[in-house]
């Protein structure tokens, strides 16, 4: 029933695919990707210059603003928790029993040695709020028909001045993204794959983030299981949850 409903919802876009605008594509991507709530079991493998390291975590999110994650392994990271509430981010370390708010330059630091920064984690996903979208053409990527969308920042407050994305025409998922600095330097690339049907949405369950300024083979972010639009207790997204 849900599948049928989502198909009906997406039908106008599919019919008008030929005349679709960049803004409509980006809105459709946001509609597909942004969930009311979610709970996911995630594996993050960081392929650094020296070694590869896998971390497992459980993540909860509510809309764009609230997210909570707890690291389950390896032993050194076990019990580390992160809480995002709006523009604020706290990290709890069980070894010191301290919750520290991350701010300023620290937001630019890598999350657990990965190719993602805290700032990347904090970013709002409603792209049209911060970016001007332009449809630049079409491309076949990874065997899928895609639109090439270019997003340019409306203000200087965003982390990445320009983004280029290949959007799957059928599933409204960004399969490949390039994030650029204002100077035009390529900063990060993201490859999404293993797109699966989750509830009434299409969700990439494997993403490879690559910080182009770092040596290494990037960070794999694999969603082992995900539940969407479930009811989550409110206390998950509170500071009290950090020390629990």
């Amino acid at each position: 029933m849900k599948k049928l409903f989502s198909l009906i919802m997406l039908m106008p876009l599919l019919v008008c695919a030929q005349n679709i605008t960049a803004d409509e594509i980006v809105r459709a991507v946001d509609r597909n990707m942004i969930t009311r709530t979610s709970k996911a079991n995630v594996r993050m493998t960081v392929h650094s210059r020296r070694a590869s390291r896998t971390m497992e975590m459980i993540s909860y999110s509510q809309g764009n603003d609230e997210a909570f994650s707890e690291y389950l392994s390896p032993p050194r990271e076990k019990g580390t928790k992160m809480l995002k509430l709006g523009d604020d981010l706290w990290i709890y370390d069980p070894g010191t029993d301290r919750s520290i708010q991350i701010s300023g330059n620290m937001l630019k630091q890598s999350v657990m040695g990965s190719d993602l920064s805290y700032e990347d984690m904090m970013e709002e996903t409603h792209l049209l709020e911060n970016y001007q979208a332009e449809l630049k053409g079409e491309i076949k990527y990874d065997g899928r028909e895609c639109w090439i969308i270019e997003l340019k920042a409306k203000s200087s407050g965003v982390s990445y001045f320009k983004r280029k994305a290949y959007i799957d025409k059928e599933r409204y998922v960004a399969l490949y993204e390039e994030w650029y600095a204002k100077s035009g330097k390529l900063l990060k690339t993201i490859k999404a794959s293993e797109v699966k049907r989750v509830s009434n949405r299409w969700y990439p369950t494997k993403m490879v983030f690559k910080d182009e300024l770092k040596q290494g083979k990037g960070t794999e972010y694999i969603i082992d299981s995900i539940e969407i639009d479930l009811t989550l207790p409110a206390h998950i997204f509170s500071k009290a949850m950090l020390k629990k």
């Binding site: 020296r50 971390m55 070894g95 010191t96 520290i100 630091q109």
Partner: protein, 423 residues
């Protein structure tokens, strides 16, 4: 002849006073400048080797590529066994392990929430095995409040950072950083004391921590970001350093392995080689500049003096003294004046240098925003080179001035001289 000229020079105040004063002042300034530059160079070498470069340094090849960034994630891992081998092979060196790391210093309030936080540069040294690092970095004299760390879990914090974040000895702080593998890590420490090294780049915000604590925090068991080696003599021995480096790299370094060790000399690190070459060059340029300027000034003085003595030269030529002899007398007079001025200049310059060598000069105002590892109190270093390199230009300049000014004697016609004598 010499005695005659000597009397002649010193009985006529116009002949010696101005040139002697000029030479004396300039030579004194030159002695001071050379000693100041040498003092600065030695201070820079001393501080840089103690805190940063060592006389020689061993890092991984990957680390060496980004040496200035001190990327401890590219550190030498499991190095304990290798280090024992290095110590046995090069007994003329003292070896120390260090880790430099960046961290966020977080100060909790009574509830455990963040009261204040700031970024600090972590400096991990071996505090507890013996007191060699404490002596090398002069931690005792750098201590401004509290005491040196006595046990694991205690750190020293720079005075400026402590004041800025209102941290006092015995306060507990949390350092947050990344492990060698990039994972987030936190560790609680107690501030045992505050330090001030007199080095702006360190005093702005550094924490000194025992290397074992940092290894635990950064997941770097048996690892070191850098292994520094110092000659047991305490002095940097350039030729020997080059020989040791070549031998070490042939023996232990593997170009195909980016994590194999590589040895660097002091002057191979960052811009050290360039800075040392520039300091040496500046001494040479200073000598050339001073000789040129002094020569021009004394040439003019010689010309003025020559004009004043036209009559005298005329009489001397008229009574049969040869032009060559008059010219030689002029040069000897220049030599007498130059030697006298240079001697007094050297004595005065040396006296000033000895004073500043003993009591030092407070350079903290100039170092405030400097990233160079130079001491806040600078001591001049007087040596034979400074004296010789100042004395010779002082003497040469008066002789050169006299030689140029005296050239006019050869252009004079005897008939013209008699005409001048009549007027």
């Amino acid at each position: 002849m010499f005695k005659f000229l000597l009397k002649g020079v010193f009985r006529d105040r116009h002949r010696w006073l101005f040139p002697v004063l000029i030479v004396m002042f300039t030579v004194g300034l030159l002695v001071f400048s050379f000693s100041f530059l040498e003092g600065y160079k030695q201070s820079y070498l001393r501080q840089t080797s103690r805190f940063n470069t060592g006389h020689l340094k061993v890092v991984s090849r990957a680390y060496a590529e980004m040496l200035d960034l001190k990327p401890y994630d590219l550190a030498l891992l499991d190095i304990a066994g290798e280090l024992q081998g290095y110590k046995a092979r090069y007994p003329q060196l003292d070896w120390v392990e260090r880790i430099n790391f960046g961290a966020l210093l977080d100060v909790p309030d009574e509830m455990g929430n963040t009261r204040v936080q700031g970024e600090v540069a972590g400096f991990a040294i071996d505090i507890f095995t013996d007191d060699s690092e404490i002596k090398r970095l002069q931690l005792d004299s750098a201590l401004r409040s509290g005491r040196l760390p006595a046990r694991s879990g205690e750190i020293l914090l720079s005075t400026i950072a402590a004041e800025k974040m209102q941290i006092a000895p015995s306060d507990t702080i949390t350092l947050m950083g990344s492990t060698v593998f990039g994972a987030m890590t936190m560790q609680n420490f107690m501030v045992s004391g505050t330090v001030e090294f007199g080095i702006a780049s360190l005093d702005q915000g550094a924490v000194v921590v025992d290397i074992q604590d940092v290894r635990e925090m950064l997941d770097m068991e048996n690892a070191a970001g850098e292994i520094l080696a110092f000659f047991k003599s305490g002095e940097y021995e350039r030729k020997q350093a080059a020989r040791i480096m070549q031998d070490f790299n042939q023996r232990y370094s593997d170009e195909s392995d980016e994590f194999s060790p590589v040895m660097l000399r002091l002057e191979d690190q960052g811009s050290m080689g360039y800075i040392l070459a520039m300091l040496d060059l500046s001494v040479l340029w200073m000598s050339i500049g001073f000789i040129t300027v002094l020569g021009i000034v004394l040439w003019n003085a010689g010309l003025l003096n020559g004009i004043r003595r036209y009559g005298e030269f005329g009489v001397r030529l008229a009574i049969g003294e040869s032009k060559r002899r008059v010219y030689a007398a002029l040069l000897i007079e220049g030599l007498i004046v130059g030697t006298t001025g240079a001697l007094i200049g050297v004595i005065l310059g040396s006296a000033i240098c000895i004073y500043f060598n003993r009591y030092g000069m407070d350079m903290s105002v100039y170092n405030r925003n400097s990233t160079m590892l130079s001491e806040n109190v600078l001591y001049t270093s007087i040596n034979a080179y400074a004296i010789i390199a100042s004395f010779i230009p002082g003497v040469l300049s008066t002789v050169l001035g006299a030689a140029l000014a005296g050239g006019a004697i050869f252009k004079r016609q005897t008939s013209q001289l008699f005409k001048e004598l009549e007027t």
